[in-house]
């Protein structure tokens, strides 16, 4: 059937759809370009970060110390859960002595960093989005610009530096908590001797397991900070707009964390 036979209304709808699609694509690529510049400027300002060391310290406290409880809770619960479930599974194969090995790899490589990334994009990301969004709509960001201060160097770079610094120890602490909660469950739920558990953890852990896990920390730090700050800076349309941009920041950064998690694992494990 050629398009001539289609009713005019349908053609009209297709045309409208096409136009919308093109517009959306344009907006998407424009936003990508803006984001690219925003990120470049945030990185370029890193050498100047010591000028804003107070802001770096404040942000380090917010994304480090203040995030510690939620990161620990998620690490402990994921460690415990893994130990129970994987232990049940391994028992069927009579391989319960391998429990330490399987849980430690999951915790260190995958679930530990991933869960931490998601928690931080909810906690640190939402805070950035809401705070910077509110500053944007109340013209405080314009006020910085009007005073000749680069708002990206003053507001975004300190957050980026703080996240880059703090995400590594957070990862280490989360690994530690996850492993110990797994060990606890192995001992008290599966009645596995702690010696056996830890024996299957340490000798088997390869450097690449740590590389995978710890490489994710800076990658997530960059994704979460830049995406949430960018969305805060783009907020418009009053308080509802701040809400929208905050949500967008969390959704996009969580999505990107999930995707980056996969690719970091794949790249490192294929190449090491």
């Amino acid at each position: 059937m050629s398009t001539q036979h289609l009713p005019a209304r349908a053609l009209e709808l297709i045309r409208i759809f096409q136009e919308k699609l093109i517009l959306e694509l344009k907006v998407f690529f424009f936003t990508m370009q803006e984001f690219f510049w925003f990120s470049t400027r945030a990185f370029v300002a890193i050498p100047k970060a010591k000028r804003y060391w107070r802001d770096v310290l404040d942000q380090a406290k917010i994304c480090g110390a203040d995030s510690l409880p939620i990161v620990m809770v998620s690490a402990i619960s994921i460690g415990a859960l893994l130990a129970i479930e994987v232990g049940n599974l391994l028992e069927d194969f009579g391989a319960k002595t391998m429990l330490g090995r399987s849980t430690s790899i999951s915790v260190i490589r995958e679930l530990g960093p991933l869960l931490m990334g998601l928690m931080l994009s909810a906690r640190f990301g939402s805070r950035n989005g809401a705070e910077l969004g509110a500053m944007q709509i109340s013209e405080q960001i314009d006020a910085l610009r009007a005073f000749g201060t680069d708002p990206i160097a003053k507001l975004v770079t300190p957050r980026l530096v703080a996240a880059l610094i703090m995400f590594l120890p957070l990862t280490a602490l989360s690994d530690f908590a996850g492993l110990h909660s797994a060990a606890y469950m192995a001992e008290h739920y599966h009645r596995l001797d702690p010696g056996i558990f830890w024996n299957s953890v340490y000798p088997r852990l390869a450097p690449r397991d740590f590389v995978v896990g710890f490489l994710k920390a800076p990658v997530f730090a960059i994704i979460i900070t830049l995406v949430s700050c960018f969305n805060g800076f783009s907020a418009k349309g009053g308080t509802a707009g701040v809400g929208r941009s905050t949500i967008k920041g969390i959704v996009v950064s969580s999505g990107l964390v999930l995707i980056a998690n996969f690719f970091v694992s794949k790249l490192v494990l294929e190449n090491m």
């Binding site: 006020a143 009007a146 005073f147 000749g148």
Partner: protein, 244 residues
């Protein structure tokens, strides 16, 4: 000196400013008068390069800032002070920190000098006792005075005031107006005052530009405003306050 040459600006399809030309001289106070939504705040933002026009040029002290990059604009902006319509105080900083922000940030003055100037400004604005408060715990008039102090404290040679008296009681607005006219006597500053209150114009301005439907319909000394024939100006002169 700030010059707008044939500046046009659109938001989407809506044409806000149509081919506007305007000159702001140093050491004089210029008022920009116009009804709400006509584009007065927009003009101030254009002068600082915070937004870009669709066409035309903006020249600040002989430099064309129209197509300058954000980073090179910082040096130009530091010569000017801006009082935003909504104050735009940094709400996570105390009043003293707000006032001292520019001095620490851009002039890198020694802490002692910063404190001296901040104290002086606090007294000048009558804000003693509020130094360590956050902006949220101040009244509207007090916040206004902080915003004005924040722009004045680094002694720029041009200050842009966006509706300095809007929403204030007669006493506060009188205080602020006398503060603005004292600027000229004390510091030999230039200033732009955006307003929709015609009494403000007669109180402080040397000259006035009237913005109406995207165009400048009057631009001359304040005394001559009385003789203007444009129906819009006639109507505001008889009503004194602009309602569309």
């Amino acid at each position: 000196m700030i010059e707008l040459r044939k500046v046009s600006l659109k938001y989407g399809d809506r044409e806000i400013l149509k081919n506007i030309s305007l000159t702001i001289k140093d050491n004089a106070i210029k008022a920009i008068l116009g009804p709400s939504g006509v584009g007065k705040s927009t003009i101030l933002k254009l002068m600082l390069g915070l937004i870009k026009p669709n066409s035309g040029q903006i020249i600040v002290d002989g430099t064309d800032i129209t197509s300058m990059t954000e980073t090179s604009l910082y040096a130009i902006r530091r010569k000017m002070g801006m009082v935003f319509q909504g104050n735009a105080l940094f709400d996570s900083m105390t009043i003293s920190e707000n006032l001292g922000f520019f001095l620490r940030e851009n002039m890198k003055l020694p802490e002692k000098e910063v404190n001296r100037r901040v104290t002086e400004q606090i007294q000048f604005a009558g804000l003693e006792g509020y130094e360590e408060q956050l902006p949220e715990s101040l009244s509207g008039g007090m916040r206004r005075r902080v915003a004005i102090g924040r722009a004045m404290i680094f002694k720029p040679h041009m200050i842009l005031f966006d509706e300095p008296t809007a929403g204030l009681d007669p006493v506060s607005s009188k205080k602020i107006l006398s503060l603005i006219s004292s600027l000229r006597n004390d510091n030999n500053l230039g200033a732009v005052i955006v307003t929709h209150i015609i009494d403000d114009v007669f109180n402080v301005a040397d000259s006035v530009a009237v913005l109406y439907k995207g165009e400048i319909i009057f631009d001359d000394s304040t005394e001559k405003l009385h003789k203007a024939t444009h129906p819009f100006i006639r109507s505001i002169l008889s009503d004194k306050i602009l309602e569309l």
